[in-house]
């Protein structure tokens, strides 16, 4: 048996032995996700599963052991994922700390910062949120105005962030601030601070689809120490170099969102034909909708091939660095159209917003939620700008 085969067998045995049975049931909704943090609440099995995985470093299997990770190789990490999927083990921890801040710290952080911040993330003890967008700074993120003024031993933060997911539930924030008003991109810093600090308030945002995880977050004379201990600066990388960190993370985020179009990619026509009805020839009995659904089948199957190709070329280093922008653009636009068709197939029944029959308007709320796909994580317009400039090399205006 090769080393990897041994690893697979041992991993499987360990998972079988240690994963609580509740954690091998399919998730039934967002509330089944474990986010950890100071005020974490757990359902049966969740805490046990988190703790046992964290103890092995397997909440972040490919992070180095000294930062709370599992120290696994890329191949081993993949095997762990495969075995968890095969045995239907749930993810032990959902975390912006793992998905966003961690990669940034691993790439830009000092040794002291990594040692200080990463292990509590891996153990699910500290829950993070992201402070990027501001009301006046959406697509043009670098125009952000939240100020951080140097007061010797601390920075004084004033301003407002928007779209901070779960800000009302997070313990700490990684936040872009303006440390130089005379520069644009070169006047931004990437800062870490406690959401329990005096002067931080949050307010949930109601979306057109209903309640949401998004918040507005206000900073009113918030004091952020320059250091949280020896060498543990509150600024990642350097003051006024936060844009480099942000760009790194934005690329990361875009390639995560881009899968949109292939989600639930079964044929809509096949799914809805009996519900809408069939004509004498057995065809979906709304010829125009049938035509649109057939077009959507083409779009979805072709995009699924694209997603496969993107993944393969990305891994092999053969993919244009700006290709995630194309994936994000195409995937989100297809997904929006797909949900339009779902609404059309559902007719008046899915227009209901609060009835039991409509499951609280679930179909309509999902449809509305997709409209954000082409806005969040970089608008479609920004994606098209990037493609035209970086891939097609079209001249600047």
């Amino acid at each position: 048996m090769s080393d990897l085969e041994t690893f697979r067998a041992e991993t499987a045995a360990w998972l079988e032995a240690n994963c609580p049975p509740e954690m091998r049931e399919p998730m039934t909704g967002e509330e089944d996700a474990v986010w950890g943090g100071r005020n974490a609440t757990f359902k049966p099995g969740q805490k046990e599963w988190l703790d046992v995985m964290a103890a092995k470093g397997w909440t972040v299997p490919d992070w180095p052991k000294e930062y709370g990770g599992g120290g696994l190789s890329r191949a081993e990490t993949k095997i762990l994922g495969q075995e968890m999927a095969r045995l239907k083990c749930r993810s032990p921890l959902s975390s912006f700390g793992i998905w966003m801040l961690g990669p940034a710290l691993l790439h830009f952080g000092t040794e002291a910062q990594k040692k200080h911040f990463l292990p509590p993330i891996a153990r699910g003890e500290i829950r993070w949120c992201q402070g990027y967008s501001e009301p006046g700074s959406g697509s043009d993120l670098a125009s952000l105005q939240t100020s951080a003024v140097d007061k010797g031993d601390h920075f004084l933060i004033n301003g407002q962030k928007i779209w901070t997911s779960y800000a009302d539930k997070a313990d700490w924030i990684f936040c872009l601030t303006r440390t130089d008003k005379n520069e644009k991109h070169k006047g931004i810093s990437f800062m870490l601070f406690d959401m329990a600090s005096e002067g931080v308030t949050t307010k949930p945002i109601v979306l057109i689809s209903g309640q949401s995880a998004f918040c507005e977050t206000f900073f009113d004379d918030v004091k952020v120490p320059k250091e949280y201990g020896e060498g543990v600066s509150s600024v990642v990388y350097e003051v006024n170099k936060g844009w480099d960190v942000a760009k790194y993370l934005l690329g990361h985020e875009r390639s995560m969102i881009s899968g949109g179009g292939s989600e639930g990619a079964t044929s809509l026509g096949a799914k809805f034909a009996d519900q809408v009805g069939r004509d004498e020839m057995g065809r979906l009995d709304d010829p125009m909708l049938r035509a649109q659904m057939a077009e959507m089948d083409i779009e979805v199957l072709a995009f699924r091939a694209m997603a496969e190709r993107f993944g393969d070329t990305f891994k092999a280093g053969l993919c244009h660095p700006a290709q995630p922008n194309m994936m994000k653009y195409a995937g989100t636009e297809i997904n929006k159209r797909r949900h339009e068709l779902i609404m059309a197939a559902g007719g008046s029944e899915v227009l209901e917003w609060e009835s039991d029959a409509s499951n609280g308007g679930m179909t309509a709320r999902s449809w509305l939620r997709t409209k954000a796909n082409s806005i969040e994580g970089g608008t479609s317009e920004v994606m098209l700008n990037v493609i035209s400039k970086q891939i097609l090399r079209l001249p600047g205006a």
Partner: protein
């Protein structure tokens, strides 16, 4: 007749615009939504509609109305659309009145005074499935004594929960799919055997599922002739569809206007986003689509008013074109608003929701496009 509003029509349009903007702007919709109003509209506003004369637009002058037509009703509906005003105007004063106009004087005398006073609300009990398929009506009306007994279920009866009378399409002969055999009835919404179950829709309007269990009506309740309900139903549908197209047009125009305003004020990358050529071209295209939709809607109304034999074709063109153009308008609206367009705080999302509900009302663009192909024989 030239294809634009004449002076009188323009005056009516202006007064409807002023009225809606003053008395029932988007904030009015929010108010009724947020207080979870069970009817989904303001009865006081409905009385104001009557005072303005709106509810009598399509009622004959000899019966106390204004004796006007589809164009005039459309001017009010456009402003209802532009302000997202919740009201029973389309179902009651347009489609409902048009159906009663096709019936006998007894029913008109019974219901028109209440409509003229802004007191009566009508519900249209036509659809039986999730999609509008009036050719597939199967609900049974069986003869019993001097009248009929109704059994079956209707869906998507907008404002059905607060309606005083329901216009019900049912089969007195034949089966679903047959051309003939339908009869339309005016049924007291509180009659024994009628049960209504309302749900709030995505646009905050209330729509009812209505169950009829052995509901008895006498012969006077028949609108038009027994077994020839198709004639009345066509008038009802033409009025309702042209009206819905006009309201849709208002939604699209309102959505376009607030989006143009927004991009004229929002800066990114140091420039007003409205100065970006890619957005300009998309908005100019949208403008073109909305203008064409407006012409199609007006043409359909004019043909209905003239009694043209081609009116039904043009009504379907209008409903489809207004639907497609307005769908584009709200889609571009939300996208160009960016993040704030996704928030409940901004109005653009409400336009998207109203558009969605109007798309389904009396047949979506797909339904009407297919009808146009069928009317052209292919």
């Amino acid at each position: 007749m030239p294809l634009y509003l004449n002076e009188d029509q323009q005056m009516l349009h202006d007064s409807a615009a002023e009225f809606m903007k003053g008395e029932a702007p988007v904030a009015h919709l929010r108010e009724f939504r947020d207080r979870q109003c069970k009817d989904g509209f303001s009865h006081a506003l409905w009385k104001q509609f009557a005072e303005m004369g709106f509810t009598g637009i399509m009622i004959g002058e000899d019966e106390g109305g204004l004796g006007l037509g589809h164009i005039e009703a459309g001017t009010v509906l456009e402003e209802i659309g532009r302000n997202l005003t919740p009201s029973p105007f389309l179902t009651t004063a347009v489609a409902g009145v048009e159906a009663l106009n096709a019936g006998g004087k007894t029913l008109r005398d019974k219901y028109f005074p209440g409509i003229l006073a802004g007191e009566t609300v009508l519900g249209l009990a036509i659809d039986e499935g999730a999609k509008h398929r009036p050719d597939q009506i199967g609900m049974a009306a069986t003869r019993e004594g001097n009248g009929f007994k109704l059994d079956g279920k209707k869906q998507f009866v907008v404002q059905g929960g607060s309606a005083d009378m329901l216009i019900v399409a049912a089969r007195t002969s034949g089966a679903a799919g047959d051309d003939k055999g339908l009869t339309l009835f005016a049924v007291d919404a509180n009659a024994a055997g009628v049960s209504r179950d309302s749900a709030r829709l995505v646009d905050s309007a209330m729509a009812a599922h209505v169950q009829f269990d052995g509901v008895t009506v006498d012969a006077d309740a028949v609108i038009g002739e027994v077994d020839d309900g198709d004639t009345v139903l066509r008038r009802l549908l033409n009025a309702g569809r042209a009206g819905a197209a006009a309201e849709t047009l208002g939604v699209g125009a309102g959505s376009m206007d607030i989006t143009v305003d927004y991009i004229k004020g929002r800066k990114q990358f140091g420039e007003l986003i409205g100065s970006f050529q890619a957005l300009q071209h998309r908005m100019a295209h949208l403008y073109s689509e909305m203008e064409i939709a407006r012409a199609a809607v007006l043409k359909a109304q004019q043909m209905l008013d003239e009694g043209s034999s081609q009116a039904e074709l043009m009504v379907s063109v209008a409903k489809a074109k207004a639907g497609r153009a307005t769908a584009l308008s709200v889609k571009e609206g939300v996208q160009m608003h960016g993040g704030v367009g996704m928030t409940d705080e901004y109005d653009i999302g409400l336009y998207m929701k109203r558009d969605r509900a109007l798309q389904e009302f009396m047949g979506d663009a797909n339904y009407h496009t297919n009808l146009v192909a069928e009317m052209h024989g292919y």
